[in-house]
Symmetry: C2
Subunit: 246 residues, 2 copies
DNA sequence: ATATTAGATATGTGATCACACTTTAATTTC
DNA sequence: GAAATTAAAGTGTGATCACATATCTAATAT
Protein backbone atom coordinates (compact mmCIF):
# COMPACT_ATOMS: atom_id res chain seq x y z
CA UNK A 1 0.00 0.00 0.00
CA UNK A 2 2.87 2.35 0.67
CA UNK A 3 4.37 1.44 -2.67
CA UNK A 4 4.02 5.00 -3.86
CA UNK A 5 5.11 7.16 -0.98
CA UNK A 6 5.72 10.20 -3.11
CA UNK A 7 4.85 13.57 -1.74
CA UNK A 8 1.21 13.93 -2.48
CA UNK A 9 0.19 16.77 -4.76
CA UNK A 10 -1.60 18.47 -1.94
CA UNK A 11 -2.95 21.36 -4.00
CA UNK A 12 -4.73 19.92 -7.02
CA UNK A 13 -6.24 23.29 -7.93
CA UNK A 14 -3.51 25.52 -9.29
CA UNK A 15 -3.14 28.17 -6.62
CA UNK A 16 -3.05 31.76 -7.85
CA UNK A 17 -0.38 32.73 -5.29
CA UNK A 18 -0.63 36.49 -5.43
CA UNK A 19 2.18 37.05 -2.91
CA UNK A 20 3.18 40.59 -3.70
CA UNK A 21 6.78 40.95 -2.67
CA UNK A 22 9.11 43.75 -3.64
CA UNK A 23 11.28 41.50 -5.78
CA UNK A 24 8.20 40.36 -7.66
CA UNK A 25 7.27 43.94 -8.49
CA UNK A 26 10.85 44.71 -9.48
CA UNK A 27 10.86 41.64 -11.70
CA UNK A 28 7.60 42.61 -13.39
CA UNK A 29 8.83 46.14 -13.83
CA UNK A 30 12.06 45.08 -15.49
CA UNK A 31 10.19 42.59 -17.61
CA UNK A 32 7.82 45.26 -18.83
CA UNK A 33 10.69 47.60 -19.47
CA UNK A 34 12.42 45.00 -21.60
CA UNK A 35 9.27 44.24 -23.52
CA UNK A 36 8.62 47.91 -24.19
CA UNK A 37 12.11 48.46 -25.44
CA UNK A 38 13.24 50.72 -22.64
CA UNK A 39 16.50 48.81 -22.64
CA UNK A 40 18.79 48.51 -25.59
CA UNK A 41 20.36 45.22 -26.60
CA UNK A 42 23.84 44.98 -25.10
CA UNK A 43 23.17 47.83 -22.69
CA UNK A 44 24.92 47.45 -19.38
CA UNK A 45 22.78 47.30 -16.28
CA UNK A 46 23.81 47.81 -12.68
CA UNK A 47 22.06 46.35 -9.69
CA UNK A 48 22.63 49.39 -7.50
CA UNK A 49 21.60 51.83 -10.21
CA UNK A 50 18.36 49.94 -10.82
CA UNK A 51 17.75 49.75 -7.08
CA UNK A 52 18.09 53.52 -6.79
CA UNK A 53 15.92 54.05 -9.83
CA UNK A 54 13.21 51.82 -8.37
CA UNK A 55 13.55 53.26 -4.88
CA UNK A 56 14.55 50.05 -3.14
CA UNK A 57 17.67 48.25 -1.96
CA UNK A 58 19.88 45.91 -3.93
CA UNK A 59 18.40 42.68 -2.63
CA UNK A 60 15.13 42.54 -4.54
CA UNK A 61 16.89 43.66 -7.70
CA UNK A 62 19.49 40.95 -7.33
CA UNK A 63 16.88 38.21 -7.27
CA UNK A 64 14.88 39.75 -10.08
CA UNK A 65 18.03 39.89 -12.20
CA UNK A 66 18.81 36.29 -11.31
CA UNK A 67 15.45 35.32 -12.77
CA UNK A 68 16.03 37.34 -15.89
CA UNK A 69 19.42 35.69 -16.29
CA UNK A 70 17.72 32.30 -16.19
CA UNK A 71 15.40 33.53 -18.94
CA UNK A 72 18.45 34.67 -20.93
CA UNK A 73 17.10 38.21 -21.09
CA UNK A 74 20.11 39.46 -19.16
CA UNK A 75 23.54 37.90 -19.25
CA UNK A 76 26.87 38.28 -17.51
CA UNK A 77 29.31 39.58 -20.05
CA UNK A 78 32.23 39.56 -17.67
CA UNK A 79 33.25 38.67 -14.12
CA UNK A 80 31.36 41.61 -12.66
CA UNK A 81 29.31 42.92 -15.53
CA UNK A 82 25.68 42.51 -16.45
CA UNK A 83 24.08 43.54 -19.69
CA UNK A 84 20.89 43.12 -21.64
CA UNK A 85 21.26 40.27 -24.12
CA UNK A 86 22.89 41.80 -27.20
CA UNK A 87 21.82 41.24 -30.76
CA UNK A 88 23.68 38.49 -32.49
CA UNK A 89 22.54 37.51 -35.95
CA UNK A 90 22.90 33.73 -35.76
CA UNK A 91 21.54 33.59 -32.22
CA UNK A 92 18.54 35.62 -33.24
CA UNK A 93 17.95 33.36 -36.20
CA UNK A 94 17.75 30.40 -33.84
CA UNK A 95 15.25 32.14 -31.60
CA UNK A 96 13.13 33.03 -34.59
CA UNK A 97 12.98 29.41 -35.71
CA UNK A 98 12.05 28.32 -32.22
CA UNK A 99 9.40 31.00 -31.99
CA UNK A 100 7.93 29.82 -35.27
CA UNK A 101 7.53 26.34 -33.83
CA UNK A 102 6.00 27.50 -30.56
CA UNK A 103 3.88 30.39 -31.75
CA UNK A 104 2.83 28.48 -34.83
CA UNK A 105 1.66 25.69 -32.58
CA UNK A 106 -0.20 28.09 -30.32
CA UNK A 107 -1.92 29.66 -33.31
CA UNK A 108 -2.82 26.24 -34.62
CA UNK A 109 -4.45 25.38 -31.34
CA UNK A 110 -6.23 28.70 -31.09
CA UNK A 111 -7.69 28.12 -34.53
CA UNK A 112 -8.74 24.55 -33.89
CA UNK A 113 -10.84 25.17 -30.80
CA UNK A 114 -14.59 25.73 -30.92
CA UNK A 115 -15.86 28.75 -32.80
CA UNK A 116 -14.88 31.82 -30.79
CA UNK A 117 -16.32 35.14 -32.06
CA UNK A 118 -15.11 37.02 -29.00
CA UNK A 119 -11.54 36.03 -29.77
CA UNK A 120 -11.92 37.12 -33.38
CA UNK A 121 -13.33 40.45 -32.25
CA UNK A 122 -10.51 41.01 -29.80
CA UNK A 123 -7.92 40.21 -32.43
CA UNK A 124 -9.55 42.59 -34.89
CA UNK A 125 -9.58 45.28 -32.23
CA UNK A 126 -5.87 44.88 -31.51
CA UNK A 127 -5.07 44.92 -35.20
CA UNK A 128 -7.10 48.12 -35.61
CA UNK A 129 -5.10 49.66 -32.81
CA UNK A 130 -1.91 48.98 -34.73
CA UNK A 131 -3.41 50.40 -37.90
CA UNK A 132 -4.52 53.61 -36.20
CA UNK A 133 -1.24 53.95 -34.33
CA UNK A 134 0.66 53.82 -37.59
CA UNK A 135 -1.44 56.62 -39.04
CA UNK A 136 -0.36 58.97 -36.27
CA UNK A 137 3.17 57.60 -36.03
CA UNK A 138 2.64 56.38 -32.48
CA UNK A 139 5.12 53.53 -32.51
CA UNK A 140 4.76 52.72 -28.85
CA UNK A 141 1.10 52.07 -29.36
CA UNK A 142 1.83 50.01 -32.46
CA UNK A 143 4.23 47.82 -30.53
CA UNK A 144 1.89 47.25 -27.60
CA UNK A 145 -0.96 46.59 -30.02
CA UNK A 146 1.14 44.02 -31.82
CA UNK A 147 2.05 42.38 -28.56
CA UNK A 148 -1.57 42.36 -27.44
CA UNK A 149 -2.61 40.78 -30.73
CA UNK A 150 -0.12 37.95 -30.48
CA UNK A 151 -0.65 37.25 -26.81
CA UNK A 152 -4.42 37.30 -27.22
CA UNK A 153 -4.04 34.66 -29.90
CA UNK A 154 -1.62 32.51 -27.93
CA UNK A 155 -3.71 32.71 -24.79
CA UNK A 156 -6.49 31.14 -26.82
CA UNK A 157 -4.31 28.06 -27.17
CA UNK A 158 -5.56 27.13 -23.73
CA UNK A 159 -2.06 26.36 -22.46
CA UNK A 160 -0.85 28.97 -20.02
CA UNK A 161 2.49 27.18 -19.94
CA UNK A 162 2.84 27.76 -23.65
CA UNK A 163 2.03 31.43 -23.19
CA UNK A 164 4.67 31.62 -20.47
CA UNK A 165 7.33 30.08 -22.65
CA UNK A 166 6.53 32.34 -25.56
CA UNK A 167 6.61 35.44 -23.41
CA UNK A 168 10.04 34.38 -22.17
CA UNK A 169 11.17 34.26 -25.78
CA UNK A 170 9.65 37.68 -26.41
CA UNK A 171 11.69 38.92 -23.49
CA UNK A 172 14.83 38.14 -25.43
CA UNK A 173 13.51 39.36 -28.75
CA UNK A 174 11.81 42.38 -27.20
CA UNK A 175 14.70 44.81 -26.85
CA UNK A 176 15.90 43.87 -30.32
CA UNK A 177 12.58 44.55 -32.01
CA UNK A 178 11.97 47.68 -30.01
CA UNK A 179 15.36 49.15 -30.80
CA UNK A 180 14.69 48.70 -34.50
CA UNK A 181 11.98 51.32 -34.08
CA UNK A 182 14.72 53.87 -34.58
CA UNK A 183 14.48 53.35 -38.30
CA UNK A 184 11.01 54.79 -38.59
CA UNK A 185 10.66 54.18 -42.29
CA UNK A 186 11.52 50.51 -42.04
CA UNK A 187 9.42 50.15 -38.91
CA UNK A 188 6.37 51.65 -40.59
CA UNK A 189 6.76 49.52 -43.68
CA UNK A 190 7.09 46.31 -41.69
CA UNK A 191 4.11 47.01 -39.49
CA UNK A 192 1.94 48.05 -42.39
CA UNK A 193 2.70 44.70 -43.92
CA UNK A 194 2.16 43.09 -40.55
CA UNK A 195 -1.37 44.43 -40.32
CA UNK A 196 -2.22 42.64 -43.55
CA UNK A 197 -0.72 39.39 -42.33
CA UNK A 198 -2.66 39.73 -39.11
CA UNK A 199 -5.82 39.93 -41.18
CA UNK A 200 -4.95 36.56 -42.66
CA UNK A 201 -4.40 35.23 -39.17
CA UNK A 202 -7.81 36.52 -38.11
CA UNK A 203 -9.46 34.96 -41.12
CA UNK A 204 -7.78 31.66 -40.42
CA UNK A 205 -8.99 31.72 -36.82
CA UNK A 206 -12.50 32.69 -37.89
CA UNK A 207 -12.60 29.84 -40.37
CA UNK A 208 -10.93 27.47 -37.92
CA UNK A 209 -8.24 26.69 -40.45
CA UNK A 210 -5.38 25.33 -38.33
CA UNK A 211 -2.82 25.10 -41.09
CA UNK A 212 -3.50 28.61 -42.35
CA UNK A 213 -3.26 30.00 -38.83
CA UNK A 214 0.10 28.40 -38.26
CA UNK A 215 1.35 29.42 -41.67
CA UNK A 216 0.24 33.04 -41.33
CA UNK A 217 1.76 33.48 -37.89
CA UNK A 218 5.01 32.02 -39.12
CA UNK A 219 4.97 34.41 -42.05
CA UNK A 220 4.46 37.29 -39.64
CA UNK A 221 7.39 36.22 -37.49
CA UNK A 222 9.65 35.59 -40.43
CA UNK A 223 8.88 38.84 -42.20
CA UNK A 224 9.55 40.93 -39.13
CA UNK A 225 12.71 38.94 -38.58
CA UNK A 226 13.97 39.79 -42.03
CA UNK A 227 13.36 43.47 -41.39
CA UNK A 228 15.22 43.32 -38.09
CA UNK A 229 18.13 41.60 -39.72
CA UNK A 230 18.24 44.22 -42.42
CA UNK A 231 18.09 46.97 -39.83
CA UNK A 232 21.03 45.59 -37.88
CA UNK A 233 23.01 45.04 -41.02
CA UNK A 234 22.56 48.72 -41.86
CA UNK A 235 23.29 49.81 -38.29
CA UNK A 236 26.39 47.68 -38.26
CA UNK A 237 27.62 49.30 -41.44
CA UNK A 238 27.02 52.76 -40.05
CA UNK A 239 28.60 51.96 -36.71
CA UNK A 240 31.68 50.65 -38.49
CA UNK A 241 32.12 54.11 -40.04
CA UNK A 242 32.20 55.76 -36.64
CA UNK A 243 33.85 53.38 -34.21
CA UNK A 244 36.76 51.20 -35.17
CA UNK A 245 35.47 48.42 -32.95
CA UNK A 246 37.24 45.09 -33.10
CA UNK B 1 25.12 58.92 -39.55
CA UNK B 2 24.00 58.75 -35.95
CA UNK B 3 20.65 57.45 -37.06
CA UNK B 4 21.30 54.15 -35.37
CA UNK B 5 22.92 54.99 -32.07
CA UNK B 6 22.11 51.68 -30.49
CA UNK B 7 24.62 50.12 -28.18
CA UNK B 8 26.96 48.29 -30.45
CA UNK B 9 27.17 44.54 -29.99
CA UNK B 10 30.73 44.79 -28.80
CA UNK B 11 31.32 41.06 -28.46
CA UNK B 12 30.38 39.41 -31.75
CA UNK B 13 31.90 36.10 -30.72
CA UNK B 14 29.74 34.55 -28.03
CA UNK B 15 31.93 34.63 -24.96
CA UNK B 16 32.16 31.41 -22.96
CA UNK B 17 32.07 33.30 -19.65
CA UNK B 18 33.37 30.68 -17.28
CA UNK B 19 32.95 32.86 -14.18
CA UNK B 20 32.78 30.26 -11.48
CA UNK B 21 30.83 31.79 -8.64
CA UNK B 22 29.35 29.94 -5.71
CA UNK B 23 25.80 30.64 -6.79
CA UNK B 24 26.57 29.18 -10.19
CA UNK B 25 27.80 25.96 -8.68
CA UNK B 26 24.80 25.83 -6.36
CA UNK B 27 22.52 26.36 -9.33
CA UNK B 28 24.17 23.59 -11.34
CA UNK B 29 24.06 21.30 -8.35
CA UNK B 30 20.34 21.84 -7.76
CA UNK B 31 19.69 21.51 -11.47
CA UNK B 32 21.47 18.18 -11.60
CA UNK B 33 19.66 17.03 -8.50
CA UNK B 34 16.31 17.85 -10.06
CA UNK B 35 17.23 16.08 -13.29
CA UNK B 36 18.39 12.99 -11.46
CA UNK B 37 15.21 12.80 -9.44
CA UNK B 38 16.78 13.55 -6.08
CA UNK B 39 13.83 15.80 -5.39
CA UNK B 40 10.24 14.67 -5.35
CA UNK B 41 7.50 16.64 -7.06
CA UNK B 42 5.79 18.85 -4.48
CA UNK B 43 8.60 18.41 -1.99
CA UNK B 44 9.22 21.45 0.17
CA UNK B 45 12.64 23.03 0.00
CA UNK B 46 14.25 25.43 2.42
CA UNK B 47 16.92 27.93 1.55
CA UNK B 48 18.74 27.58 4.84
CA UNK B 49 18.58 23.80 4.78
CA UNK B 50 20.02 23.68 1.28
CA UNK B 51 22.70 26.18 2.27
CA UNK B 52 23.75 23.97 5.17
CA UNK B 53 23.66 20.88 3.00
CA UNK B 54 25.87 22.56 0.41
CA UNK B 55 28.17 24.11 2.98
CA UNK B 56 27.52 27.73 2.11
CA UNK B 57 25.44 30.66 3.26
CA UNK B 58 21.91 31.50 2.22
CA UNK B 59 22.84 34.13 -0.37
CA UNK B 60 24.03 31.93 -3.23
CA UNK B 61 21.14 29.54 -2.67
CA UNK B 62 18.64 32.40 -2.80
CA UNK B 63 19.78 33.47 -6.22
CA UNK B 64 20.01 29.92 -7.51
CA UNK B 65 16.45 29.33 -6.34
CA UNK B 66 15.35 32.57 -7.99
CA UNK B 67 16.63 31.22 -11.29
CA UNK B 68 14.89 27.90 -10.79
CA UNK B 69 11.67 29.75 -10.02
CA UNK B 70 11.98 31.57 -13.32
CA UNK B 71 12.36 28.19 -14.99
CA UNK B 72 9.25 26.98 -13.15
CA UNK B 73 11.20 24.11 -11.62
CA UNK B 74 10.54 25.50 -8.17
CA UNK B 75 7.50 27.50 -7.17
CA UNK B 76 6.22 29.44 -4.21
CA UNK B 77 3.26 27.56 -2.84
CA UNK B 78 2.56 30.07 -0.12
CA UNK B 79 3.69 33.40 1.30
CA UNK B 80 6.84 31.90 2.76
CA UNK B 81 7.00 28.46 1.27
CA UNK B 82 8.97 26.98 -1.61
CA UNK B 83 8.50 23.60 -3.18
CA UNK B 84 9.51 21.57 -6.17
CA UNK B 85 6.89 21.91 -8.89
CA UNK B 86 4.26 19.28 -8.10
CA UNK B 87 2.70 16.90 -10.55
CA UNK B 88 -0.55 18.12 -11.98
CA UNK B 89 -2.12 16.08 -14.73
CA UNK B 90 -3.38 18.84 -17.01
CA UNK B 91 -0.27 20.95 -16.53
CA UNK B 92 1.90 18.00 -17.39
CA UNK B 93 -0.16 17.32 -20.46
CA UNK B 94 0.55 20.86 -21.66
CA UNK B 95 4.27 20.46 -21.12
CA UNK B 96 4.26 17.19 -23.00
CA UNK B 97 2.60 18.81 -26.00
CA UNK B 98 5.10 21.64 -25.92
CA UNK B 99 7.97 19.21 -25.64
CA UNK B 100 6.68 17.34 -28.65
CA UNK B 101 6.83 20.52 -30.68
CA UNK B 102 10.29 21.51 -29.53
CA UNK B 103 11.97 18.14 -29.32
CA UNK B 104 10.28 17.01 -32.51
CA UNK B 105 11.68 20.05 -34.25
CA UNK B 106 15.14 19.43 -32.83
CA UNK B 107 15.03 15.82 -34.01
CA UNK B 108 13.86 16.95 -37.42
CA UNK B 109 16.82 19.29 -37.70
CA UNK B 110 19.26 16.69 -36.43
CA UNK B 111 18.04 14.30 -39.09
CA UNK B 112 18.13 16.82 -41.91
CA UNK B 113 21.75 17.87 -41.56
CA UNK B 114 24.59 16.29 -43.51
CA UNK B 115 25.24 12.61 -42.98
CA UNK B 116 26.67 12.21 -39.50
CA UNK B 117 27.92 8.70 -38.62
CA UNK B 118 29.50 9.88 -35.38
CA UNK B 119 26.12 11.09 -34.18
CA UNK B 120 24.50 7.79 -35.12
CA UNK B 121 27.21 5.90 -33.26
CA UNK B 122 26.84 8.02 -30.17
CA UNK B 123 23.08 7.56 -30.17
CA UNK B 124 23.47 3.82 -30.55
CA UNK B 125 25.92 3.80 -27.67
CA UNK B 126 23.55 5.68 -25.38
CA UNK B 127 20.72 3.38 -26.32
CA UNK B 128 22.89 0.35 -25.55
CA UNK B 129 23.61 1.82 -22.15
CA UNK B 130 19.91 1.91 -21.44
CA UNK B 131 19.46 -1.64 -22.67
CA UNK B 132 22.28 -2.95 -20.48
CA UNK B 133 21.15 -0.93 -17.49
CA UNK B 134 17.71 -2.50 -17.70
CA UNK B 135 19.20 -6.00 -17.68
CA UNK B 136 20.81 -5.36 -14.29
CA UNK B 137 17.96 -3.21 -12.96
CA UNK B 138 20.18 -0.14 -12.71
CA UNK B 139 17.49 2.49 -13.13
CA UNK B 140 19.77 5.42 -12.42
CA UNK B 141 21.94 4.42 -15.33
CA UNK B 142 18.89 3.89 -17.52
CA UNK B 143 17.67 7.40 -16.75
CA UNK B 144 21.00 9.08 -17.42
CA UNK B 145 21.40 7.03 -20.59
CA UNK B 146 17.99 8.14 -21.77
CA UNK B 147 18.83 11.73 -21.01
CA UNK B 148 22.17 11.42 -22.79
CA UNK B 149 20.44 9.93 -25.84
CA UNK B 150 17.93 12.74 -26.14
CA UNK B 151 20.36 15.56 -25.48
CA UNK B 152 22.87 14.12 -27.91
CA UNK B 153 20.16 14.18 -30.54
CA UNK B 154 18.97 17.67 -29.73
CA UNK B 155 22.48 19.05 -29.62
CA UNK B 156 22.81 17.88 -33.21
CA UNK B 157 20.06 20.35 -34.11
CA UNK B 158 22.82 22.96 -34.13
CA UNK B 159 20.81 25.39 -32.01
CA UNK B 160 22.21 25.67 -28.52
CA UNK B 161 19.29 27.91 -27.65
CA UNK B 162 16.92 25.10 -28.53
CA UNK B 163 18.89 22.71 -26.34
CA UNK B 164 18.69 25.23 -23.50
CA UNK B 165 14.94 25.57 -23.79
CA UNK B 166 14.41 21.84 -23.90
CA UNK B 167 16.60 21.26 -20.88
CA UNK B 168 14.54 23.83 -19.02
CA UNK B 169 11.46 21.79 -19.84
CA UNK B 170 13.21 18.63 -18.69
CA UNK B 171 13.88 20.39 -15.42
CA UNK B 172 10.15 20.53 -14.81
CA UNK B 173 9.44 17.05 -16.12
CA UNK B 174 12.55 15.57 -14.48
CA UNK B 175 11.38 15.07 -10.92
CA UNK B 176 8.09 13.69 -12.21
CA UNK B 177 9.68 11.10 -14.46
CA UNK B 178 12.29 10.18 -11.88
CA UNK B 179 9.74 9.66 -9.13
CA UNK B 180 7.85 7.25 -11.34
CA UNK B 181 10.86 4.95 -11.03
CA UNK B 182 9.29 3.73 -7.81
CA UNK B 183 7.03 1.48 -9.81
CA UNK B 184 9.84 -0.73 -11.07
CA UNK B 185 7.64 -2.93 -13.18
CA UNK B 186 6.07 -0.06 -15.06
CA UNK B 187 9.41 1.67 -15.33
CA UNK B 188 11.06 -1.36 -16.86
CA UNK B 189 8.25 -1.94 -19.31
CA UNK B 190 8.27 1.67 -20.50
CA UNK B 191 11.99 1.82 -20.97
CA UNK B 192 12.12 -1.50 -22.76
CA UNK B 193 9.61 -0.08 -25.19
CA UNK B 194 11.60 3.16 -25.25
CA UNK B 195 14.72 1.34 -26.41
CA UNK B 196 12.81 0.09 -29.45
CA UNK B 197 11.51 3.53 -30.26
CA UNK B 198 15.01 4.92 -29.93
CA UNK B 199 16.09 2.44 -32.57
CA UNK B 200 13.55 3.94 -34.91
CA UNK B 201 14.89 7.37 -34.10
CA UNK B 202 18.42 6.22 -34.88
CA UNK B 203 17.31 4.72 -38.17
CA UNK B 204 15.53 7.91 -39.10
CA UNK B 205 18.63 9.95 -38.36
CA UNK B 206 20.84 7.53 -40.27
CA UNK B 207 18.55 7.71 -43.29
CA UNK B 208 18.13 11.46 -42.90
CA UNK B 209 14.37 11.07 -42.78
CA UNK B 210 13.18 14.27 -41.11
CA UNK B 211 9.54 13.32 -40.79
CA UNK B 212 10.32 9.91 -39.31
CA UNK B 213 12.71 11.43 -36.81
CA UNK B 214 10.13 13.90 -35.61
CA UNK B 215 7.44 11.28 -35.53
CA UNK B 216 9.53 8.76 -33.59
CA UNK B 217 10.67 11.25 -30.99
CA UNK B 218 7.11 12.37 -30.49
CA UNK B 219 6.05 8.77 -30.05
CA UNK B 220 8.76 8.33 -27.43
CA UNK B 221 7.62 11.38 -25.52
CA UNK B 222 3.97 10.47 -25.73
CA UNK B 223 4.41 6.87 -24.69
CA UNK B 224 6.44 7.76 -21.63
CA UNK B 225 3.87 10.41 -20.82
CA UNK B 226 1.08 7.87 -20.85
CA UNK B 227 3.03 5.67 -18.48
CA UNK B 228 3.65 8.56 -16.12
CA UNK B 229 0.00 9.46 -16.15
CA UNK B 230 -0.94 5.91 -15.39
CA UNK B 231 1.57 5.79 -12.55
CA UNK B 232 0.19 8.91 -10.93
CA UNK B 233 -3.35 7.73 -11.35
CA UNK B 234 -2.44 4.58 -9.46
CA UNK B 235 -0.47 6.51 -6.84
CA UNK B 236 -3.36 8.87 -6.40
CA UNK B 237 -5.75 5.99 -5.86
CA UNK B 238 -3.45 4.42 -3.28
CA UNK B 239 -2.84 7.69 -1.53
CA UNK B 240 -6.58 8.25 -1.26
CA UNK B 241 -6.84 4.99 0.70
CA UNK B 242 -4.35 6.17 3.27
CA UNK B 243 -4.82 9.88 3.72
CA UNK B 244 -8.20 11.51 3.79
CA UNK B 245 -6.87 14.53 1.94
CA UNK B 246 -9.31 17.19 0.83
C1' DA C 1 51.20 65.77 -27.09
C1' DT C 2 51.20 60.98 -25.94
C1' DA C 3 51.80 57.17 -23.04
C1' DT C 4 52.02 55.38 -18.43
C1' DT C 5 50.69 55.02 -13.91
C1' DA C 6 48.38 55.87 -9.57
C1' DG C 7 44.29 56.85 -7.22
C1' DA C 8 39.38 56.85 -6.76
C1' DT C 9 34.97 55.06 -7.88
C1' DA C 10 31.77 51.46 -8.98
C1' DT C 11 30.96 46.71 -9.76
C1' DG C 12 28.88 41.86 -8.44
C1' DT C 13 29.31 38.50 -4.69
C1' DG C 14 28.89 36.55 -0.24
C1' DA C 15 27.73 36.88 4.66
C1' DT C 16 25.04 38.47 8.37
C1' DC C 17 21.27 40.59 10.80
C1' DA C 18 16.40 42.07 11.67
C1' DC C 19 11.64 41.35 10.76
C1' DA C 20 7.05 39.58 10.13
C1' DC C 21 4.90 35.50 9.89
C1' DT C 22 3.80 30.43 10.11
C1' DT C 23 4.30 26.13 12.00
C1' DT C 24 5.39 23.11 15.59
C1' DA C 25 6.10 21.78 20.32
C1' DA C 26 5.50 22.32 24.96
C1' DT C 27 2.94 24.01 28.63
C1' DT C 28 -0.89 25.20 31.10
C1' DT C 29 -5.67 25.09 32.17
C1' DC C 30 -10.17 23.17 32.71
C1' DG D 1 -6.81 13.07 30.32
C1' DA D 2 -8.07 16.32 26.54
C1' DA D 3 -8.31 20.86 24.81
C1' DA D 4 -6.78 25.51 24.63
C1' DT D 5 -2.95 28.52 25.12
C1' DT D 6 1.68 29.91 24.88
C1' DA D 7 6.44 29.71 23.77
C1' DA D 8 10.01 28.28 20.68
C1' DA D 9 11.89 27.23 16.04
C1' DG D 10 11.87 27.91 11.37
C1' DT D 11 10.38 30.37 7.12
C1' DG D 12 11.30 33.78 3.09
C1' DT D 13 12.26 38.70 2.58
C1' DG D 14 14.70 42.96 2.74
C1' DA D 15 18.63 45.79 4.18
C1' DT D 16 23.36 46.50 5.14
C1' DC D 17 28.22 45.64 5.32
C1' DA D 18 32.82 43.78 3.73
C1' DC D 19 35.58 42.31 0.02
C1' DA D 20 38.07 41.58 -4.17
C1' DT D 21 38.43 43.40 -8.49
C1' DA D 22 37.35 45.77 -12.73
C1' DT D 23 36.81 50.35 -14.84
C1' DC D 24 37.38 55.00 -15.27
C1' DT D 25 39.80 59.52 -14.17
C1' DA D 26 43.48 62.39 -13.60
C1' DA D 27 47.97 63.33 -12.65
C1' DT D 28 52.64 62.25 -13.74
C1' DA D 29 56.43 61.13 -16.56
C1' DT D 30 58.38 60.52 -20.99
Amino acid sequence: MNTFDLTKNSKPMLAPVDVSTVQERVYQSLRLGLLRGEFLPGEQVSIRALANMLGTSAMPVREAIARLIAERAIEQSGPRTLRVAPYHASEHEAYIRIRMQLEGYAAERAASGPKNPKLVDALRRHNDQIKEALQVDDYDSALTGNQAFHFELYRASGYSQLLDLISTLWLRTGPIVASARKDTSLFERVFTHGVKIHSNVIDAVAQRDRAAARWSVNLDIRSSHLAIRRFYKLADGNAADVSGAD
